[in-house]
Symmetry: none
Subunit: 210 residues, 4 copies
């Protein structure tokens, strides 16, 4: 009876994607509040009511977008092995560049999503638990791994990681606030921030020592 019908499941997923893509488009264009269900429906080429066959309500559409982001992020974040291969310089550089590239591509959507995540407690919780916290945890792991190999002095891994993430989210924030400098000079920005943190954390010297 309730045996998973693969064909139907595929259709359902396709329809979900179709609606979510439309939602992403519309949210990016108008922001969460000015985007209406009608807009999304029209963009997706379905009737208003159809959306409610796939999502509980408008908030739930946004929530699914956020969760999707989390999944995409997950895939990219099996960086755990990277620690073994990459030097801190390479890793930091990669992370910064990576984020800056993402940001450039998705600024309008980012502008629509973050205000909502900040404003809506449920969204906030989902975002925190599925994206933020796991990344913090990985960050601490990575940093700890470096700390074990080099001498990082008395810097506290947790604080350093939150400091690094504050640079990343600060970049996002500044971009959302209309600051174009970082985006226009993203390569230089990435390189110099990498350099500052490496030297600031004595990771360049110790590197040389090894």
């Amino acid at each position: 009876m309730t045996a998973t019908n693969p064909i139907k499941d595929a259709v359902t997923q396709a329809r979900q994607r179709q609606i979510l893509e439309a939602a992403v488009t519309v949210f990016a264009e108008k922001g969460y509040h000015r985007a209406t269900i009608k807009d999304i429906a029209r963009t997706a080429g379905v009737a208003d009511g159809t959306i409610y066959n796939y999502f509980k309500n408008k908030q739930d559409v946004m929530l699914n977008i956020v969760q999707q982001m989390a999944e995409v992020d997950q895939l990219m974040e099996n960086v755990e092995q990277a620690v073994q291969i990459l030097t801190p310089a390479q890793l930091l550089g990669m992370v910064f560049q990576n984020r800056l590239r993402m940001l450039k591509k998705n600024l309008p959507l980012t502008r629509a999503i973050f205000p909502q995540i900040i404003t809506d407690p449920e969204l906030n919780q989902i975002f925190f638990e599925t994206i933020l916290q796991p990344n913090f945890d990985k960050g601490v792991q990575v940093f700890q791994a470096y700390a074990d190999r080099h001498q990082l002095g008395d810097t506290d891994p947790e604080i350093v990681v939150h400091g690094l993430f504050s640079v990343i989210f600060g970049t996002i924030m500044l971009a959302m606030l209309g600051d174009t400098v970082i985006l226009n000079r993203s390569e230089a920005f990435g390189e110099q921030m990498t350099a500052i943190f490496l030297h600031g954390l004595h990771l360049d010297q110790t590197e040389r020592d090894q």
Copy 2:
């Protein structure tokens, strides 16, 4: 006729303040969208319509709150002389600690304001022009002053300043996103970020050199 009547002006300003204070309270409590004009009016002890004698519309109330923030910020930011007196370490430390203290006090209001600034183009522009850009400019000045006295190597003032600000706004962002680590360990965070940046920018060594 429309000659500026100082008494009326004072009354008008007082009433404006009264409404803005109420708005700040209500926005902080409910966020921009869930806060109604009725809420603000009741909190301010005036009638709904009265608000429209002092502000064009709801958005304009928020806009005035942002502009007020700019003024408050201005006062505090005659740090220009500070460069003469304070070492980079002192200055950086002060700025970080200062911002973290502000953030702790005003998190709910911050949560209400930033989503709106990000979402609303007009608000965004005002914020950028009256707060962000001036602060960038000052930052570059300050950093330039240090650069003239010490050797900062090949670091680009503009990028470093945007980097520093990204830490500040990233902290705000993380706090709004529900990350409590930074707030709970704000002193350690401030100290370590100061240390990282000082060393990262070779400002500690050069200091000693002088």
Copy 3:
């Protein structure tokens, strides 16, 4: 400040009445569900939103109609003295005739209200507490008074009262169900039911005895 302004209060009450009257008209015509807020607003000559300045929601409009019924009923039900003056025959006769007359006048509204009272728990409770229970209580008092003066045998006041009320509400029910016999022959019905109950309760004989 919040001192009751009699003029405003009067206007408010008038507007409330205006809306309630419109609601009564529309509910009577279409029933609760098919009556829309728009219908009521148009009939009352106000905008849709205005209704929400006076009532929390559609259900609340109905609730106020029921409560108004309770008040009207109250006024009429200072029958307590009646016991002193009227014989049981006169009292029973009056009650039956009275109810039948009311019913004839208000059948369409009755048809709209009772289904809702039965269906909606909140409405049900209000109706029960403000109308039904008080009437039961009065009924028992009255019946007790008669019992004290005459010999009623072993009949239980509570049961007799609920029995009498079941005749009244049964009449309402039959009328709502489309039975026109009772309404068409209401006088004969009232008289005969009075006679049956009087004799059935031995109230006619004891009367003669006195």
Copy 4:
């Protein structure tokens, strides 16, 4: 072609019953309006659309429930011979007790059905013609039979019957309105109402006379 295929008919009837039973369950639980076709379909274990192969629409489902009630009632109401066997006291007592028992069992369903019968003209008509009127007719027959054998004075059979039915429907109504007295003391209620009516109609005395 459209010749009645007995097998198909049986299957069809079974499916109908299955859906109607589900509908009864759901209506009893949620009431007519809050019960959705989806609810009924799920409860019946069929698809939404299937319901429309057996019933014209949602209203028609309810209509069939009412008609089914009529059939059930019919079976029970071959009381015609009963008149020959039972004394008026026994008959009245049986009817009252019977109805009270039914009521106790089916209060939730009753609560769902009657509001709809009252509200919906088509349902109303069906109910009246298939249930109410036939019962009135039978009642008059029965009462006439007793009248022929005893002296009932000047009481009009039609009025007395409607009076008796008003007690029955009044009991239903009071129960739906939340009055629990009758249900809690149903036996005493039945007995006393029987006694009142018997004596009120001089049926007890005449009985003894015979």
